[in-house]
Symmetry: C2
Subunit: 108 residues, 2 copies
C-alpha cells in the first residue's frame, strides 16, 4: 500500500458522514438516494461524499435502472488502515488476511 495511496483513504475517513456511510454499507448495498435519506444534508452533498469514498477505493458503484447502487469494497479499508495500525500498534491490532478468491491474485 503506497503512502499516497492510503492518504486518500485517511482523508476520506476524516469526515463523520463518510464514516457513517461506510458503516451503513456494512449491512448491504444501498442506492445513493437511500444513503442520502439517512442524513440531514442535501443530495448533492451526499453525492460528493460518495465520490470521495469511490476515489479512495472504499466503495464501488453500479447502475441499476435509474438508480446507482453503492457497496463496500471489502478489503480496501482493512488493508489500508490496518496496515498503518499494524506499524503503530502491532500488539493490539491483528490483520487477518482474507481468504484468497479466484480473482484476488489477478487484481492489483
Amino acid at each position: 500500500m503506497a503512502d499516497d495511496e492510503s492518504a486518500s483513504v485517511f482523508k476520506a475517513l476524516a469526515d463523520p458522514t463518510r464514516r457513517q456511510i461506510l458503516q451503513d454499507l456494512r449491512e448491504g448495498e444501498l442506492s445513493a438516494g437511500e444513503i442520502a435519506s439517512r442524513f440531514p444534508i442535501k443530495g448533492p452533498s451526499v453525492s460528493r461524499h460518495l465520490t470521495i469514498l469511490k476515489a479512495a477505493g472504499l466503495v464501488d458503484e453500479r447502475r441499476d435502472a435509474n438508480r446507482i447502487i453503492y457497496s463496500l469494497v471489502e478489503d480496501r479499508l482493512a488493508l489500508c488502515v490496518g496496515e498503518f495500525l499494524s506499524t503503530v500498534c502491532p500488539e493490539q491490532v491483528v490483520l487477518r488476511r482474507r481468504r484468497a478468491t479466484r480473482t484476488s491474485k489477478a487484481s492489483s
Copy 2:
C-alpha cells in the same frame, strides 16, 4: 468510545505528517526538536501538529529540562480506530485487548 471522541482522532490521522509522527514515535519517545528535524516544514508547523495529536489523545508530552518529550499513548489509536474497523470489516481486523495494568481500571 463516543463518536465525537473518535472524530478528533480521525481528523488527526488525515494529515500525512501526523501519521508519520505517530510511526516515528513507535520506536520510542522523541523531543519536539527531534521530531521537527525529520520533516521539511518549520518548527511552529510541527508544534501545531503535535498539539493536534495531543488534543486527540494520541500522544503525551513531558518536560525534560528545556525540552519537551513526546510519546505515544499506547491504547488510544488501537481502541479508537480499531473499534471503527471492527464495525466495518470485523472479519479482517481483530482487536487484541491489551493486558490490564495496575492502573488501567482507575483510568478512564
